[in-house]
């Protein structure tokens, strides 16, 4: 029986599911003009990047589309996309990252780099209708290397 996750000492941001059954969260995006634009973004762990936006959503934000980059598609092919820098505002924090611009009218996606930047752990439970982002536990510091005991060379003159 599901008894819930251990939520001690964590701040939980709840998401929801879109009509296709995919997990989504509410974010705000800004560009050089500074105005915040709200979006419902799909959490896509198959996307290694930060944010993918349809081009029609990029114009009102005022994003400066100056860059290009190749991205690798699921079938292994590569495709050139327009890119720019922009900010995501989420859970009281702001992170700057690369926004990939998609010419098609597609879902807004946030990917693994989003989770990394905001230091979040993603919990998805479609059975119980839960989408939760919690602060990722801070990795334990690496233990100090153990000094090997000094080796006493055999006494050549016993």
């Amino acid at each position: 029986m599901f008894t819930g996750w251990d939520t001690r000492n964590t701040t939980i941001v709840n998401g929801s599911y879109n009509p296709s059954g995919n997990p989504t969260i509410a974010i705000e995006v800004s560009g050089p003009l500074g105005n915040l634009f709200p979006f419902t973004a799909m959490l896509d762990t198959g996307f290694s990047g930060f944010l993918l936006l349809p081009i029609l959503d990029a114009f009102p934000i005022g994003l400066l589309l100056q860059g290009t980059m190749p991205i690798t598609l699921a079938d292994g092919s590569t495709q050139t996309k327009l890119t720019c820098l922009g900010s995501i505002h989420f859970d009281g924090a702001e992170e700057i990252g690369i926004i990939i611009i998609e010419w098609q009218n597609t879902d807004v996606l946030v990917g693994m780099e989003f989770l990394r930047r905001f230091k979040k752990e993603l919990r998805v439970d479609p059975i119980n209708g839960l989408v939760e982002l919690v602060n990722a536990p801070v990795p334990a510091a690496a233990p100090a290397p153990v000094q090997p005991p000094p080796v006493n060379p055999p006494n050549p003159n016993p």
């Binding site: 996307f47 100056q66 860059g67 690798t72 092919s77 820098l85 990252g97 690369i98 990917g111």
Partner: protein
């Protein structure tokens, strides 16, 4: 000069291939390179954001192309797309 995403990317890829790839794949594997496609100046950093910010600090109006050194794409997406259009900047 009319610029399209493909023309910027082709120029950037050509510059990378001809001037930097052989050396950088040995010296900087896995790092990110932003190339100003007008001046051909390269900016290498640990993250693509840092590479772009360094480039834009020097030339805020630059058109640039980003490469992950030694990899075919900077990022991966979980979908495929076969209907691809070109548009003019």
């Amino acid at each position: 000069m009319t610029k399209t995403p493909n023309s910027i990317a082709e120029k950037g890829e050509a510059l990378y291939r001809e001037k930097y790839q052989a050396e950088y794949e040995v010296k900087y594997p896995g790092k990110y390179l932003a190339i100003d496609v007008t001046t051909a100046k390269p900016f290498v950093a640990d993250t693509p954001e840092d590479a772009i910010e360094n480039l834009l600090r020097e030339n805020p109006a630059a058109y640039y192309h980003i490469v992950r050194i030694g990899a075919p794409g900077v990022y991966r997406v979980g979908y495929a797309q076969h209907d691809y259009r070109e548009w003019v900047l």
